[in-house]
Amino acid sequence: MLLHDYLGDTVRRYPGNVALVAGQERVTYRDLDSRAHRLAAGLYSRGVRRGDRVAIYLDNGVAAVVAWYAALRVGAVFMLINPLTKRDKLAFVLNDARASVLITRQILLSEAIDAVRSAASVRFVIIAGEHARREPDERYISWAAAESDATIGDPGTIDLDLASIIYTSGSTGEPKGVMLTHLNMTTAATSVSTYLDLRTDDKIFCALQLSFDYGLYQVLLAVRLGATVVIEKSFAFPVTALEVMARERVTVLPGVPTMFALLTEVSSLSRFDLSPLRLITNTAAALSERQIRELRALFPQATLFSMYGLTECKRVTYLPPEQLDMRPTSVGRGMPNTEVWLVNDAGERLPNGQTGELVVRGSHVMRGYWEKPEATAERLRPGPYPGEVVLHSGDIFRTDAEGYLYFVARKDDIIKTRGEKVSPREVENTIHALDGVSEVAVTGVPDPILGQAIKAFIVLREGYQYAERDVIRYCLAHLENFMAPKVVEFVTRLPMTNTGKINKKALEGVVSGAGPRTI
């Protein structure tokens, strides 16, 4: 089974079902399939072949979905890049993956043109949507010009081939491409769909970025069944989101704690008829017990699933909803067709009731990080069976007597803000490039809406002066918006450990009230 076989099967069974609702646009499975086919034929005619990487730098919408199915049809590997990504990182990703094609749209061109200039592997750029301005050179073509009515043959893809590469923040500050095969993705989609018990008549509301695997899978799951995804570009206007949810009579609401915090703050929530809503899912960060109570009080008709996963294998666990009252803060146990256990530092398997690193075994575990053998070897290590590797998640959990898992901490210093993973090193590297910055340390501090907010401590060279906002604005120009610090503190020096490293624990002490000038 290949990932796009789901689309082929669904088109045969439910050609007239609505696949996607995006703003005013409603696209049936028949439409989605034929659009993907036309773009695939165009990609093929321009030389895109099995294994080539197709970068999709688009905001949430129909074009992104069409683009990834087109890439799969020619045997290519799709890479969804967050539209908040700025030129330097976009260039890094295009070069790292040696992408052959970039698919974007007019409004993102100011970033894309600069990035493509330094990405020699990109043979052409397809611009989705209407565009009137002159393109910089002949590498840039319109979507219409990129389509073809030709018939294309079977590229010969098998399920061990890569379907997608998803870039994720690494603790070194350099993004890593998570390589996912067709088998990885169909395995994950099947398991998730099974425990959620999704149905063909479901309408899934997706305001999560499609570049985030949680968002991407909303579409993959729907396509597998012939269900509908209502795609929103963002959750910046919760009242508008509620209007859309009520109008489209959505039945499934996937979210992250930040989204639910914004939603439950809407005082006019009860004005909206959300009675068809039957499933709420949460992952990326744990909901607090208070949030769980609020959500259940607001949506008594809906079943709430707490889940846990990581891009390297998509999803690991879910808490059966009937366990929610008994173990509200647990993320449950392994999902179907997945085996999980905890290990200590020596790699020994721990009995229930202990704390250790979560290890995952299953066909959904990634192939590795793209061209990063060392980083791969750190995560994928020999398992209990010969010839097999298992995923060391880097997340510390504890189990209760029945083996239900409770998140404790990460092994590295990755920050989780709004459900996004942020590498402090990546933010530090950016701030370091600001003229006059001598030292910088970035850490996560508790925030009621964001989960963790990003805080930067900066030591400036003599003669330099910046306001907090200057630094934030600089970061907004160079990083994805969610990576920009919320708070910046200028200090005279940073606390150091005995080994000469910045002592982040001591910085967290500062955050908890010791005052900025005492370090």
Partner: protein
């Protein structure tokens, strides 16, 4: 340019934009489409508008038509504020 527009433009430029992006910002540009503001940015914007213009922005008014460009904000504030402005 109206005083309201001048103030909002200055706020957005001072807080969110750098370099060439500053000159490119048009009054009609959607902050969301151009990725100038995200959900947190809009929360900051609302706080700024409430403090600067002395208005209270209700939940149901937190929509793109009211907040998602310099033009939209001006039109919204002109509806909201007493006629003297």
């Amino acid at each position: 340019m109206s005083e309201i527009k001048r103030q909002i433009r200055a706020y957005v430029l001072d807080n969110f934009l750098m370099g060439g992006d500053r000159e490119r910002l048009r009054d009609s540009d959607s902050f969301l489409e151009h990725r100038i503001l995200d959900s947190t940015g809009f929360i900051e914007l609302v706080t700024y508008l409430e403090q600067t213009f002395g208005v209270r922005i209700e939940d149901h008014e937190l929509v793109q038509e009211n907040l998602d460009s310099i033009d939209n904000i001006e039109a919204y504030l002109l509806r909201k504020l007493p006629a003297s402005l």
